[in-house]
C-alpha cells in the first residue's frame, strides 16, 4: 500500500501552485525603487588586445548614469576559483586573474568590456552602441590540442602556457597500470568526445544589487543555487565586504543544472555599482547573453583503454583526457575533470589498477564548469562505451561481461580513492531486464525491420558519488570550502515548524519532500512544516544545492536539528507529566509515558516551551529552536542500470528513441513521485546530449550554436515515455536517512545507453561501426552508415 503522507508518500509538490499559476517570485520580479539598469558591452571577438575604450559620446546619451570599464576595477579583487588542483608533479594549477570587466585583453566572445548603467535598459543598450572600441584582434585558440602546442597563442600572457594543469591519478599506480597493459590478453581502445553543452535553465540569470547608505549594507538578489557561497566568494575575495554587511538572496530560481552555482562577474558588478552610485542596479540576461556567458558543461576529449585477461576480467584501465576550462577558471571548474571524474573511473567494476590523466586547457571560449552530473557523466560515458566495445570485440554478451566484473562485496575501496558503502549491481541489472522487457526485444526488432528500420538495444551501468562531501576529504583534494550543510528548525508556540535550510531549491521540490521527513519524525501533518531557503539573512551558513546533496546532506542536517528538538521536547513533556525523560515516547504527535496512559499532545509541549509556566527552567532554556550542521562521513553512491531502444532510419540516419528504462538504487526514498521526476528530467537531458545538443565554436572562436535556431534542446516529442524503477534499495550506511541522492543520475546514466543502442542497431545491419561522437545527428549516423 503506498503511504499517503510522510516518508515514502508522493504528495503533489506544494511549490508548483505558485510556479504554475504565475505567482512565483523570481529575481527578475524584484524591482527596487529608483533602480537603474546595466547593459554589458561584450566582446565580439574571441581574443583581442584592448587599445582604447572611448565612452565620451556614450556618456552624454539620454539616461546614462555612468559607464564603467576595467579601469574602474583596478584594486578590486578577481573573481575567485573555489578549487585548487595539484598537478602530477606536485605543483599547483595555473590560475589566471579574472577581472569583473576585461582589463587589457578580451578572451572570449561575450567577455564584458564595459558596463553602461542608465535609467532604463533600452537607454543603457543605446549608449553601449555609442561606445567606441579600439580592439586589436589576436589569433584565438579554440581546439584544446592545438592550444597546448608550443607557440600557440596564449590566452593569458602571464601564464607559462595554456595548460592549467596536467593531473595524474593515481600517479603512483602508473607503472603498475602500464605493466598490466603489457601483460593483457586483450586491450580495447576508444577515442571519443564528450560534447560541450549549454545548460539552458528556463530562467536566464539575473542580478540586482542594492546598497543601504544608512546601514552600509549591500544586498544582492541573484539567480543562485547557493547564496551563502556567493556571499563568501564575492564578499571576501572580490569586493571586500564583510559578511555581516552583505546579504545575498536567491528567491525562486527557474532551474540551475549547475550553471547557477558559480559566482559570476555580473553579480559582483551590480553589487559594486549599487554602492558606487548609491542606487539599485539590475541586470537581466537575454537568452543570447546566456548562450555566450553562462558557464558551459562537459567538453572533454578522451582516449580510454581497457585491459582484460584471457578470462575477460578487467585488469587495468587507462585514460587520457583533455578538459576545456574556457578562458577563465569558473568557481568549481578545476574539480570537475579531476575529483568528480577520476575518482569515478572504477565505475561498478572491480578493475584493480586505474590511471587517469587529465590535461585542463585554457581556450578562447566561455568558461566550462559543472553541469548536471559534472565529471561523472564524462566518466560513465567513456567507461560504459569502452566496455561495450570490448564485448563486441571479444564476441561476448555485454551484460555478461559487466556482471562478470561487477563489484559484489561492500564496502569496497576502489583504486581511485573512494570507498563505496553499499550497492547491488546485479539487482539493478536484473530489475532493468525486467522493466525494459528485454524478452520482447527480438520481436520488436523484427517489426522494425519490416518497416525498413534498424532497431538497437543499448545497456549500461553507472555509479556516481554524490552527497558532496566530507569537508576534511575535499579539503585535502584542493577544495577551498567545506561541504557540510546546515538547518535551523524553529518550532512555533502553536506547534508549527519552520525549517531554515542551507540547501536551495530550484526545481528539486524541497518544500514538499523536506516536510515529509519531519512529519514522520514527529508524527504530525506535513502542512505544519514550512521550508525557508535562499536568503543569507534568515538561513544558517550552508553550501547550497548541487551534486545531488540536498537530502543526503541538507536533509541530514535537518534530521539532526529535529532530533535535538525532540530530545528537548521530551524533557519538557517529562517535566509536565512528572516522569523521567527516558520514559517519554513520541508517536503520532503525542508524548506518552511508557507503560502508562498519561500523554500530552505535541502542541501542549510546544506551547509550554514558549509559555513556560510549568517548566524545568533550572534545567533547560525556554523556546524550541535548534540548529545542526552536518558534515557527511563519505560520499553517497547511487548506482543503476539503464537501457535504451532506438530505431534508426537507414535512409536518413535519423535516430528515434523508442523505449528507455532505468533501474536505479537511490537507497531510501522520501517522495517517489519527485524521484521519478528527477530521473525523467535527467534522462531528458542525457538524451539531449546524446542526440541533439552540441555547442560549437568555429576556429575563430565565434559561437555558431548561439541560439535555439542552432542549439537543439530536447522537446517532448524527442523523448519516449520512460520506464523508471527504484525498488532496488541498498540504503546509505552513513547518513541518518539512508538516502543517496537522485538529481543527476538520469543525466549520468543515459548517454552511453543511447550511443550503445545506436551502435547496436548499425551493427545489426552488418555495419562495422564501433563509435559515433555525440550528438548523434542524422548526418553523423548517416555518414557512419555509409563509411
Amino acid at each position: 500500500m503506498p503511504k499517503d503522507s510522510g516518508i515514502g508518500a508522493s504528495p503533489k509538490r506544494r511549490e508548483d501552485l505558485r510556479f504554475l499559476t504565475g505567482t512565483g517570485n523570481y529575481t527578475d520580479d524584484i524591482n527596487l525603487s529608483g533602480q537603474a539598469y546595466v547593459h554589458f558591452l561584450r566582446s565580439d571577438v574571441a581574443h583581442g588586445k584592448i587599445n582604447g575604450i572611448d565612452t565620451t559620446a556614450a556618456a552624454a546619451m539620454p539616461g546614462v548614469v555612468r559607464i564603467f570599464t576595467g579601469a574602474d576595477f583596478e584594486g578590486v579583487g578577481s573573481i575567485p576559483c573555489g578549487w585548487q588542483v595539484t598537478d602530477r608533479h606536485g605543483q599547483p594549477m595555473q590560475e589566471p586573474a579574472h577581472p569583473v570587466l576585461a582589463q587589457g585583453k578580451v578572451r572570449y566572445v561575450g567577455d564584458a568590456i564595459a558596463a553602461v548603467v542608465a535609467d532604463t535598459a533600452e537607454q543603457a543598450r543605446d549608449a553601449a552602441e555609442a561606445i567606441e572600441l579600439d580592439i586589436e584582434e589576436l589569433p584565438a585558440v579554440i581546439d584544446m590540442k592545438e592550444a597546448v602546442k608550443d607557440g600557440a597563442p596564449k590566452v593569458h600572457d602571464d601564464l607559462t602556457s595554456n595548460l592549467c594543469y596536467d593531473w595524474g591519478f593515481v600517479e603512483e599506480n602508473k607503472p603498475a597500470v602500464e605493466e598490466a597493459f603489457a601483460k593483457a590478453a586483450h586491450v580495447t581502445t576508444l577515442e571519443l568526445v564528450n560534447n560541450r553543452l549549454v545548460a539552458n535553465p528556463m530562467e536566464p540569470r539575473v542580478a540586482v544589487g542594492d546598497f543601504n547608505r544608512a546601514t552600509g549594507e549591500s544586498t544582492l538578489y541573484s539567480t543562485s543555487q547557493n547564496p551563502h557561497v556567493i556571499r563568501l566568494l564575492m564578499g571576501a575575495f572580490v569586493l571586500g565586504i564583510p559578511e555581516h554587511k552583505l546579504r545575498v538572496i536567491a528567491p525562486d530560481v527557474g532551474g540551475g543544472f549547475g550553471t547557477k552555482i558559480f559566482h559570476y562577474a555580473e553579480e559582483a558588478f551590480c553589487t559594486f555599482a549599487a554602492k558606487a552610485l548609491n542606487r539599485a542596479v539590475k541586470w537581466t540576461s537575454t537568452r543570447s547573453e546566456a548562450f555566450m556567458t553562462d558557464a558551459h558543461g562537459r567538453d572533454h576529449v578522451t582516449k580510454i583503454e581497457l585491459a582484460l585477461d584471457a578470462d575477460n576480467n578487467f585488469t587495468a584501465l587507462r585514460t587520457d583526457t583533455y578538459a576545456n576550462m574556457g578562458a577563465y577558471l569558473s568557481t568549481f571548474a578545476p574539480s570537475v575533470p579531476t575529483w568528480l571524474h577520476g575518482t569515478l573511473m572504477a565505475g561498478n567494476y572491480k578493475t584493480p589498477l586505474i590511471y587517469v590523466n587529465v590535461k585542463a586547457v585554457f581556450t578562447n571560449t566561455v568558461p566550462v564548469d559543472a553541469y548536471r552530473g559534472a565529471g561523472r557523466p564524462e566518466a560513465t560515458f567513456q567507461l560504459e562505451r569502452v566496455i561495450d566495445k570490448a564485448a563486441r570485440e571479444l564476441g561476448v554478451d555485454p551484460i555478461a561481461l559487466r556482471r562478470q566484473n561487477f563489484i559484489t562485496e561492500f564496502p569496497y575501496a576502489t583504486p581511485v580513492a573512494v570507498e563505496y558503502d553499499t550497492g547491488d549491481y546485479n539487482a539493478t541489472m536484473d530489475k532493468l531486464i525486467e522493466v525494459a522487457d528485454f524478452a520482447g526485444f527480438e520481436a520488436r526488432r523484427a517489426e522494425s525491420q519490416q518497416n525498413g528500420k534498424l532497431r538497437g538495444l543499448g545497456v549500461n551501468c553507472y555509479i556516481e558519488a554524490c552527497g558532496i562531501a566530507p569537508s576534511n576529504l575535499v579539503g585535502q583534494l584542493g577544495a577551498r570550502a567545506g561541504l557540510y550543510e546546515s538547518a535551523t528548525v524553529r518550532v512555533n508556540a502553536t506547534g508549527g515548524l519552520v525549517v531554515m535550510t542551507g540547501s536551495h531549491s530550484h526545481g528539486q521540490g524541497h518544500e514538499t519532500s523536506f516536510p515529509q521527513v519531519i512529519a514522520d519524525m514527529i508524527g504530525i501533518d506535513e502542512s505544519m512544516v514550512e521550508i525557508v531557503h535562499g536568503d543569507t539573512a534568515n538561513t544558517p551558513m550552508g553550501m547550497g544545492t548541487y551534486g545531488s546533496r540536498s537530502l543526503a546532506v541538507g536533509g541530514s542536517a535537518m534530521v539532526r536539528a529535529t532530533e535535538k528538538i525532540i530530545a528537548k521536547a521530551k524533557k519538557i513533556a517529562a517535566h509536565i507529566l512528572e516522569a523521567s525523560d527516558a520514559d517519554i515516547e513520541l508517536k503520532d504527535g503525542q508524548f506518552s509515558v511508557a507503560g502508562t496512559d498519561k500523554s500530552l499532545a505535541w502542541g501542549d509541549v510546544t506551547l509550554a516551551a514558549y509559555v513556560p509556566h510549568n517548566y524545568p527552567l533550572e534545567d533547560i532554556e525556554p523556546g524550541l529552536e535548534e540548529t545542526a550542521f552536518y558534515d557527511p562521513a563519505n560520499f553517497t553512491y547511487p548506482s543503476g542500470a539503464y537501457a535504451c531502444e532506438v530505431e534508426v532510419d537507414p535512409e536518413t540516419g535519423k535516430v528515434t528513441i523508442e523505449r528507455f528504462a532505468a533501474a536505479d538504487d537511490f537507497g531510501n526514498i522520501v517522495n517517489p513521485m519527485i524521484v521519478d521526476g528527477q530521473v525523467h528530467g535527467g534522462i531528458g537531458q542525457g538524451i539531449g546530449q546524446a542526440l541533439l545538443e552540441g555547442c560549437v565554436y568555429d576556429e575563430n572562436g565565434q559561437l555558431l550554436s548561439a541560439s535555439y535556431m542552432d542549439y537543439a534542446m530536447p522537446r517532448a516529442d524527442d523523448v519516449p515515455f520512460y520506464q523508471v524503477d527504484h525498488s532496488c534499495q541498498t540504503p546509505c550506511t552513513h547518513n541518518p536517512l539512508g538516502v543517496k541522492g537522485c538529481g543527476e543520475a538520469g543525466a549520468i546514466g543515459s548517454p552511453p545507453a543511447v550511443v550503445n543502442a545506436v551502435v547496436d542497431a548499425l551493427q545489426s545491419a552488418g555495419k562495422d561501426v564501433t563509435h559515433i561522437d555525440m550528438p548523434l545527428t542524422p548526418n553523423r549516423v548517416w555518414s557512419a552508415l555509409n563509411s
Binding site: T652, D710, T777, P778
Partner: protein
C-alpha cells in the same frame, strides 16, 4: 528594439501609401521581423501592419479551380481552410513552427522573406503559383531570386498568392533539429501536363526546381523513377547540422517519399 512609428491601414491602397515613407516596412505576422528588430538587426522607421486589411485575408477557390490565398492569411488559417481543396498545402502550413508562429505568421511574410529553409517557397515554386502584388502578377519561376531575395520591389506588397491545384501532391520536410525549419524540404506536385519538384533548405541559391526528377517523374510517377538520380553536392549549403553531401542525399530520399505519399 529601436523606436518606430506604427500604422495599421484598412486597405491595400492606404498600405502602399504608408509604405512610401522612408525606411517604412510592411509587417505581416512579425514572426521574422520582430525578432530581427529585437536583436537590433533591423531598424525600420515605420511599421505598416497588413493584418487589418480585409481584402488580404482568407482562402478562396477561384472559378478556374485555383486556390487564392490572401497575402496576410496566417499559416493556421491556411492549414484549416485549404485542407479541403489542397491538402498538401494545408499540411505544409500545419507543420510550420509552433502554434504561436502559425497563428501570427503569414504566407505573404514567408514568401517576401524567402528564407532558404522556409516551407512556403517550396509550395509556391512546386505548384507553379502566381505571386500577386499591389502592382503586378509574378510567376513563382521568376519570383525567387536567391537567399532572402525576391522579385519584389521596395514597398511592394504581396496581396495574394494563386495556387493551381495539382492532381496529387506532397511535401516532405526533414527538420533541422534545433529550429525545426526545413533542413531539406521537397514539394512534389503532379499536374495533368507534368510534374514539378521544388526543393527548399538545401541549395546555396535558395529554393529550386529539380528538373531531372521532374522529367523522370513526368514519364513515370513512381518513387522508383527517381532511383539513380542524384543532385550535385557542390551547390548545397553546409552548416553545423548537415554537410553538402548529406543535404544532396536527402533530396533524393525525400523526393521518393513525397511521390509515394502524394495524394
Amino acid at each position: 528594439m529601436y523606436n518606430f512609428e506604427f500604422e495599421k491601414p484598412a486597405t491595400i491602397a492606404d498600405a502602399v501609401a504608408a509604405l512610401g515613407a522612408e525606411d517604412a516596412q510592411a509587417l505581416g505576422g512579425g514572426q521574422t521581423l520582430l525578432p530581427t528588430m529585437k536583436q537590433r538587426l533591423a531598424m525600420p522607421s515605420k511599421l505598416v501592419s497588413l493584418s487589418g486589411i480585409g481584402e488580404m485575408q482568407g482562402v478562396c477557390r477561384e472559378d478556374d479551380g485555383s486556390l487564392a490565398i490572401g497575402g496576410a492569411t496566417t499559416h493556421a488559417t491556411v492549414a484549416a481552410e485549404a485542407a479541403a481543396h489542397y491538402p498538401a498545402l494545408a499540411d505544409l502550413a500545419s507543420h510550420i513552427g509552433d502554434p504561436a508562429v502559425r497563428n501570427r505568421g503569414t504566407i505573404g511574410g514567408s514568401l517576401a522573406n524567402n528564407d532558404p529553409a522556409a516551407c512556403y517557397p517550396a509550395a509556391a515554386l512546386g505548384s507553379g503559383a502566381t505571386i500577386v502584388t499591389n502592382a503586378r502578377e509574378i510567376a513563382a519561376d521568376d519570383y525567387f531570386q536567391g537567399l532572402f531575395t525576391t522579385a519584389l520591389e521596395e514597398g511592394e506588397i504581396i496581396t495574394s498568392v494563386r495556387f493551381p491545384v495539382p492532381e496529387a501532391a506532397n511535401y516532405q520536410k526533414f527538420v533541422q533539429p534545433a529550429s525545426r525549419f526545413a533542413m531539406v524540404g521537397v514539394f512534389v506536385a503532379k499536374f495533368v501536363d507534368g510534374v514539378r519538384v521544388a526543393v527548399t533548405g538545401a541549395s546555396e541559391e535558395g529554393v529550386f526546381r529539380w528538373s531531372e526528377a521532374e522529367a523522370a517523374l513526368g514519364a513515370s510517377f513512381t518513387a522508383d523513377a527517381v532511383d539513380g538520380l542524384t543532385v550535385d553536392a557542390a551547390g548545397m549549403m553546409a552548416d553545423i547540422h548537415a554537410t553538402k553531401e548529406y543535404r544532396a542525399h536527402l533530396i533524393g530520399v525525400l523526393t521518393k517519399r513525397a511521390v509515394a505519399a502524394a495524394s
